[in-house]
Amino acid sequence: MAEDMLKKMAQSIIDGDLDAAVALAREVVASNMDPLEAISKGFVVGVNTVGEAFGRGEAFLPELVMAGEAMKVAIGVLDPELKKRGAHREILGRVVIGTVEGDIHEIGKSLVATMLSASGFEVHDLGVDVPGDQLIGKALDMNADILAMSALLTTTMVRQREVIEELEKEGLRHRIKIMVGGAPVTREWVASIHADGYSEDAIGAVALARNLVAKA
């Protein structure tokens, strides 16, 4: 694939330019180029560049989020083409994520979902106010590596424990790692409900998820 085409792909991610990212991905499909190469040598380079700038304190969170969203739409175009070719991109792991039942707070959960997906996880975001059995059902259907639950209220935070207890009761707890998050979640809470980990922000959540799948 032409060097400048790959550079443009990376740049579209760095700029958080969704339109450019989609147009480039479509060009890959239309001109029968290798979608895997487009991802690994083009788009992913952009994500890494932004990630590294973020790590140095130069890039801000919105740049990271926009890069993640541009990456997501590019992959969205390329995924069907990959399937057609019988190829598949490497994923770090599969994550089912949602805000627990009775709680409508979205932003932290969505931020974590975007960051995980930009970092190479396959993410299934069930949204907000999600009943425990739906979280568990989806996690089992997808054979997910990680179930991630968010809660902003101390009164809804207890749902995190209920889901874990349900998994334990059904003898399924060993099959999946549990990540929890939300403003009231503390280390002590995580220990008391036997979750596998928590993070106070989205960046930490990615590091945690990487750790959890590496251990699995």
């Binding site: 973020f54 969170l61 919105p62 409508i104 931020l111 403003a183 009231p184 503390t186 106070e200 922000d201």
Partner: protein, 484 residues
């Protein structure tokens, strides 16, 4: 013995953050947002009230768009002034635009244990202890539920918390930890039992209710339904926006004010459409997210400006304001806590926010510190004293004393000095000792503040709630927990 509440009133200092034209622009933007973008009300009851009033309601998306005249005519019913009642009537709080009252902050999840100094998950006993200390502290005028009673069942937690405060203090209680109709109903019943019936409660609301919006441009269904129930009972009710620049609000301050204003104003209009004349207040604790990480900051220049600007908006709508100040993002009582809590509270106070929330927290309203609570009260006292300004009169010009002392004397033995020395601010926690004394002990404000809190907790006996009432509360809460 509980001392008279110290509030800020008749300030001599003034500050204009927004011009009249700025405020009109924000108001126009707000109306445009409500009309064109819409606000989400995920409550069947709320949506039906809006539909009946003629708003454009999308029941599937649970979103309301309302014309400016509908909003503006509803807001005309808001009472401009009313009082928050206390169990002890001498502690009633007139919200009349000329008082700034400090409350405890609320909804924390951890506590620095008053005895051991260890950080741990908050419990019901903490709610009791904090209420008792607040009852004895003249700077604290009213309570929020300070921390979450995580050792009692979640479905009735908000009720246990209310009982705990009423049993330990005679001051007004504003709950911010009840988010559904079912719990709100019992809370109103409890308040009515204290006031002496539903009609008495309407006249003397010993309880008020604060609900957070879900920024941007959303409400929580349970919260809205609880608010409607409270407004119907004549209990002062407010919606608080916590829109944060960059994440739940635009990056710009004016845009963030408009988004938050649309949430609060739409919620307030709903209450007025349903129950015209219901006592309502504006509540806000906007902030800016940290640009690098998106983290909640709990302080910074943006917070200070919001603290001053929001009262200009509340004044424009002629309703009282409950303003988030204090609530430092600092992890312990330190330099950052001092800066953030002083400046945020100064800006909210100089613009005469009616209620300030509040004293006692670290780490962005998550960790309760008894030392921080006491030091926050001193910050409030410093600002209160500052806002009293400089009185210039024959008496304060002190010409007689100046003539009596003449050049090269001193004023220590003047009768004028004796008359006015107690006007000067007396610090409880500032270190004004000789250096050698500090060097020998190396203690500071944090130690003295904690010692004060411990002393109050050991000694202060609040006026008891009638034990019969306590027993009835327990029974009510029990029956709410176990459905018949």
């Amino acid at each position: 013995m509980t001392r008279a509440i110290e509030s800020i009133s008749d300030p001599r200092l003034q500050l204009q953050i927004l011009s009249g034209q700025d405020i009109c622009k924000i108001h126009d933007a707000t109306l445009q947002i409500i009309e064109k973008v819409g606000v989400k009300f995920p409550s069947r009851r709320a949506l039906e009230i809006w539909a009946q009033a003629g708003a454009d309601v999308d029941f599937d998306r649970m979103t309301v768009k309302a014309r400016p005249d509908l909003i503006e005519s509803a807001l005309k019913h808001c009472p401009a002034a009313y009082s928050l009642a206390a169990r002890d009537p001498s502690q009633d709080l007139p919200l009349d635009g000329n008082h700034v009252y400090l409350g405890t902050d609320g909804c924390g999840v951890e506590v620095i244990d008053i005895a051991s100094g260890e950080r741990r998950i908050s419990r019901l006993q903490d709610v009791r202890d904090i209420a008792r200390i607040a009852d004895a502290t003249p700077q604290i005028a009213f309570h929020w539920v300070p921390v979450s009673a995580q050792d009692v069942p979640a479905p009735v937690r908000g009720l246990h918390e209310l009982q705990a405060i009423w049993e330990n203090s005679t001051k007004h209680v504003q709950t911010e930890s009840i988010y559904n109709e079912r719990e709100a109903q019992v809370a109103i019943d409890m308040a009515a039992m204290i006031a002496g019936g539903r009609e008495a409660l309407r006249k003397r609301p010993v309880l008020s209710l604060m609900q957070c919006t879900a920024s941007p441009l959303g409400h929580d269904g349970g919260s809205v339904e609880a608010a409607l129930l409270a407004a119907e009972a004549g209990i002062p009710t407010g919606f608080m926006t916590m829109a944060a620049c960059l994440t739940t609000g635009p990056a710009t301050l004016a845009g963030n004010l408009a988004v938050g204003n649309a949430e609060v104003i739409a919620g307030t209009a709903l209450l007025q459409i349903a129950f015209p004349g219901a006592p309502v207040f504006y509540a806000a604790a906007q902030t800016a997210s940290d640009p690098r990480t998106g983290a909640y900051t709990g302080g910074g220049p943006e917070d200070f400006l919001f603290g001053g600007a929001t009262n200009a908006l509340a004044d424009f709508y002629n309703i009282p304001l409950s303003m988030g100040s204090f609530a430092t993002g600092a992890k312990e009582p330190n330099w950052q806590a001092g800066i953030e809590n002083s400046l945020s509270t100064f800006m909210a106070s100089i613009s005469m926010a009616d209620m300030l929330l509040g004293a006692g927290f670290l780490h962005g309203s998550r960790i309760w510190s008894f030392a921080e609570m006491m030091m926050d009260c001193e910050i409030f006292s410093i600002i209160r004293k500052t806002l009293q300004g400089i009185e210039v009169s024959d008496e304060t010009l002190a010409l007689e004393a100046i003539a009596a002392v003449g050049p090269s004397g001193n004023f220590l033995s003047q009768p004028h000095t004796r008359r006015h020395m107690r006007d000067l601010f007396l610090s409880e926690f500032m270190d004004r000792r000789p250096y050698a004394e500090w060097e020998a002990k190396k203690d500071d404000a944090r130690d003295w503040a904690l010692a004060k809190a411990r002393r109050i907790l050991a000694e202060h006996q609040p006026a008891r709630l009638d034990p019969k009432l306590s027993a009835e509360f327990s029974a009510l809460i029990h029956s709410a927990e176990v459905p018949a």
